[in-house]
Every structure is written in structure tokens, then in C-alpha cells.
Amino acid sequence: MAKPTPRPTPTEQPFYDACAQHQLILQHCQGCGHVLFYPRTHCDQCQSEQLVWKEASGQGSIASYTVVRRGVSADFEAPYVIALIDLAEGPRMMSQIIETEPEALAVGLQVSVDFAAWSEDITLPVFRLHPALDANA
């Protein structure tokens, strides 16, 4: 089994191009102001097609998380942390929180985006616990 790797559609390509440049970008709806994730052809609030890409802050908070103790396949070495991240701009995304101890995790903690090469062509956003947390610790 190979690691599942996205094969972006033309609609999605700008998101992955930005990831390769270590930038997180999100679609903003010109019709209603909604900020979307995942990338779409239509706004999932008002169905407008007037969507423009804007760079995101890369900041978010943990909506929930789990430590996977038994990986989905041999390509994923357990343990690893899967989390739902509420981005500062509004949308929620699934990602991994990297280089953390499971004990350090909690719902509501602040995280910052980072980027990880997933395959030759694909770079994906991942997250780290907010550095400020360590500074205050």
C-alpha cells in the first residue's frame, strides 16, 4: 500500500502550489464573505462561484485530537497525532500535529501551521503547538 496522496483537481491546484511555497491559502467568498475549506468550485454557504484565494494567518486552535496507536497501514508509523484544527479565519481542517508529546495536547490549545513534504509533488500543511506556549511554560 502506498501512502494516500492527493491528486489535485485544477480547482484545488492553487492550494497545493501554495503549500509547496509554505503558504496556507484559503478561498474567500465574494458573495457572502464566508471563508472555505476544503477548496471548492462553489461557496458552501451561499453557492456563489465568486471565490478568491487569500493567504491565511496559519494560526488555529485544537477542536479535537486523537493519538493513533495503530497506524492505518505500514506507511504510517504509530504513534501519530490526528487533529481537527479550527483556523483563525473560521474553517476547520484535519491535519497532523507533529513533534509533540501526547500529554501536552488539549482541546483549545493554540497551534501554528508548518509544512511537510508528503511525496515528490505534494506538500501538506501540518501543525505544531504554538511556540508561545513553550515560551510561557
Binding site: T5, G71, A74, P102
Partner: protein
């Protein structure tokens, strides 16, 4: 809010189960054929008396035209023949589609049959990968989530929001196992304690292996017809009193609410159509793919207040001797879970208890049953309420 508009007009007149658990001697197709025929016989009918077949596909033996292949195997040419795929919710959505098809004049009597063999006809890795493929291929799967991980996310959110504990999730597994210990067919029959669950192998925090449903083989089928056609059968007909659905999203990362599901809408529709409330339900058959899913359904279907599912389970109310018997065959946590057909066994158990023919396991006072199933990751929901009275 009405459900399907079909409440009270249709009845289940036949049912069958295959062997369940580890069943290596029959393929999924052969299991589906067997339960189809057995359910028709249980209804006191011949195949030529039945003119509709609804099945779901099998992960372990996918067939492009599944229902047609099952009919062909039996040399049967039903007037209405269709394969339904709505994940774990398939069982009750197919049941409602059968009633709707009869209402529309597409058939008079329909068999709903499902079987799969995740245990004996797939490797463990194949079964894991095929199930986790429900994740979004671009925005979830690349990160390596497993199905237990999706439910781990839901569990953690419920713990954070309502103070639910891992021990309270464990109570769901303990309750189902207590019932399974009384059922000679159940795949897992050794009684377990909360400590056993908490000490079992970590899978995806906070879930341990005993919080997760089984991987099994098995099939089951039911026969449905108009209530006014049920007079001459050998069994007490079991009436479909109410039905409801709720669909909130497909992928868990798109859920607007991690801790309250569309089981709320599904349940409300079914109760409204049946003219019943949670207090009127004597038997609960809920979808226990993972312990947090069961706990959230208990809340969302109105058996306790939101956030109190943990206390409800810990009270023992769902166990043998309790006032709200739940998953009395042992559920998917302990009886069997062959994938999409998993909820069929809650349905056959409910029919058996409502008929009063559950033998030594028969519970007193069984007049109404609520059966619930959900597909995806708490994504789409279907509820059916059954009644024993004519």
C-alpha cells in the same frame, strides 16, 4: 415533521440470520443467497410469492449488480431488484425504500438481504484500509486517520464539552457484552468489566480495542409487505410505526458539531410518525460501531438529556435487568459486525423480541422497539420504530 408517511402501513413478516462471527465456509454472496431464501421460508412463502429484492454490496466480494446477482443465483426474476449503498445506515434506509417501492406499486412483497465477510474473506489490513477509505481522499486520508481515530476525535470532543469519561464510554461495551454473554451465537461472550475495557490495548486515544466493534462475517434478511397482506403468515407481523432520516455531512472534518449528530432529526421524524416518545420505547437497538457513537445516540434520540449519556450508561439501565434494554443480542461490539450489514442484527433481534419468540432470552413486556443506524462518521442517520401490536 413527518418521516416517510408510510408509518403503520407496512410490516415485517419474515426474517433470517446466517451463522455469524467467523464463517469461512460461505462467501458473502452465498451468505446473502442463504438468508434471502431462509427469510422467505420464515415468512411462510415461496420465492415465487416474493417480487422484490433489495441488497447492499459486500466489501469482501463486490459485485457491480449485486442484487441482480443474488436473484440470478437463485434462478429468480423479481419485478423490483436494486442494490442500496448508504454505509452503516443502509439497513433502515433500504427498509424504507422497500416500503416506498411497495407503496408506489413497484412490488408487493420485498426481501431486504445483506451479508459481508470482513473477517474471513479479507486480510486485516485490507479491512482497515477499505473502511478508512471513507475519509476524504485529499483532506483526510493523507494524514493517516483510521476509523477508530475518527471516533476518537468525537470521543475527545464529548469529553471536553460534557466531562464524559473513558470509564463511561467503557460502560457501553460492558453492557453489550453482558447481553452477548446470554446469547449462544454471539462472537464474544466472556463478561468484561470497565477495568477490562480501560486496560485493553490502546487503538486511537481515548479508544481502546474493547471500545471498538468486532470484525465479523455474517448476513441477515427480512421480508416486508403491506400490513393488510400479512394475515396468513406463521409469525406475528411486526409493524413499521415510524421512520426518519438525518444527513449532516459526509466527512468528519466538515461536521459543524462533533458531539450532537443528525440522529436528533432522524429520531424526531420517526417519533412523530409513530406518535411515540422515548418513554414509550421498550427495546433499544442502536448502532454501536464504537462506544462514543452509542453514547451520543442515546442522548440524541432523547433517552437522556444532552451530555448525560455517560451517567445513563453507568446507571446500568441498559444492562440485563435494567429498564431500557439496549442491544440485547450484544450489538456490533459483541454479537457481530460484518460491515454495512451490521445493523441488520439489531433489526432481527428486535423482530424476535417483539414476536416473543426469543426463547430463553425473551424479555417481558416488549411492545415497541427503536432501531437506529448511522453511516459515515456519525454522518447520516436512519431510525425505525417497530411495534408488536396489530
Amino acid at each position: 415533521m413527518a418521516g416517510s408517511g408510510l408509518g403503520g402501513k407496512y410490516a415485517l413478516i419474515g426474517m433470517a440470520e446466517s451463522d455469524v462471527g467467523i464463517v469461512p465456509d460461505k462467501s458473502p454472496r452465498e451468505l446473502c443467497v442463504q438468508v434471502t431464501l431462509d427469510a422467505v421460508r420464515d415468512a411462510g412463502l415461496k420465492l415465487s410469492d416474493v417480487d422484490g429484492l433489495i441488497t447492499c454490496n459486500a466489501f469482501a466480494e463486490p459485485i457491480m449488480y449485486h442484487a441482480e446477482a443474488v436473484a440470478e443465483y437463485l434462478g429468480w426474476e423479481p419485478r423490483h431488484c436494486v442494490t442500496v449503498n448508504t454505509g452503516g445506515g443502509t439497513t433502515f434506509m433500504a427498509l424504507n425504500m422497500a416500503a416506498a417501492a411497495i407503496e408506489a406499486g413497484m412490488a408487493d412483497t420485498i426481501v431486504v438481504a445483506m451479508a459481508d465477510s470482513l473477517r474471513s474473506f479479507m486480510t486485516r489490513e485490507q479491512a482497515m484500509v477499505v473502511q478508512s477509505s471513507s475519509g476524504h481522499p485529499h483532506y483526510e486520508q493523507p494524514y493517516g486517520p483510521t476509523v477508530p481515530a475518527y471516533y476518537g476525535l468525537i470521543a475527545r470532543a464529548h469529553m471536553d464539552q460534557y466531562g464524559t469519561t473513558e470509564a463511561q464510554f467503557a460502560e457501553a461495551a460492558v453492557s453489550c457484552r453482558a447481553w452477548a454473554s446470554q446469547h449462544p451465537k454471539a462472537q464474544m461472550r466472556d463478561v468484561i468489566s470497565v477495568e477490562d475495557v480501560l486496560n485493553s490495548r490502546a487503538i486511537a486515544d481515548p479508544l481502546k480495542v474493547l471500545d471498538c466493534s468486532l470484525v465479523s462475517d455474517g448476513g441477515a434478511a427480512v421480508v416486508i409487505t403491506r400490513k393488510d397482506r400479512t394475515k396468513d403468515g406463521p409469525n406475528k407481523p411486526i409493524t413499521l410505526l415510524g421512520y426518519g432520516e438525518g444527513h449532516a455531512y459526509e466527512h468528519i472534518s466538515q461536521a459543524k458539531n462533533l458531539t450532537t449528530s443528525a440522529a436528533v432529526q432522524s429520531g424526531q421524524s420517526a417519533y412523530a410518525e409513530a406518535g411515540l416518545s422515548p418513554d414509550d420505547i421498550s427495546l433499544l437497538q442502536l448502532y454501536d460501531c464504537f462506544t462514543p457513537a452509542l453514547l451520543i445516540q442515546i442522548e440524541d434520540l432523547g433517552f437522556c438529556a444532552k451530555g448525560e449519556g455517560g451517567d445513563w450508561l453507568a446507571s446500568g439501565i441498559s444492562r440485563p435487568g435494567g429498564a431500557k434494554p439496549l442491544n440485547t443480542h450484544g450489538g456490533m461490539l459483541s454479537y457481530c459486525h460484518p460491515g454495512n450489514p451490521g445493523a441488520m442484527f439489531g433489526l432481527t433481534e428486535a423482530i424476535s423480541q417483539l414476536r416473543g419468540d426469543a426463547g430463553p432470552r425473551q424479555l417481558p413486556g416488549m411492545s415497541t422497539a427503536l432501531c437506529h443506524a448511522q453511516g459515515g462518521i456519525m454522518s447520516s442517520h436512519a431510525t425505525v420504530i417497530l411495534g408488536a401490536e396489530d
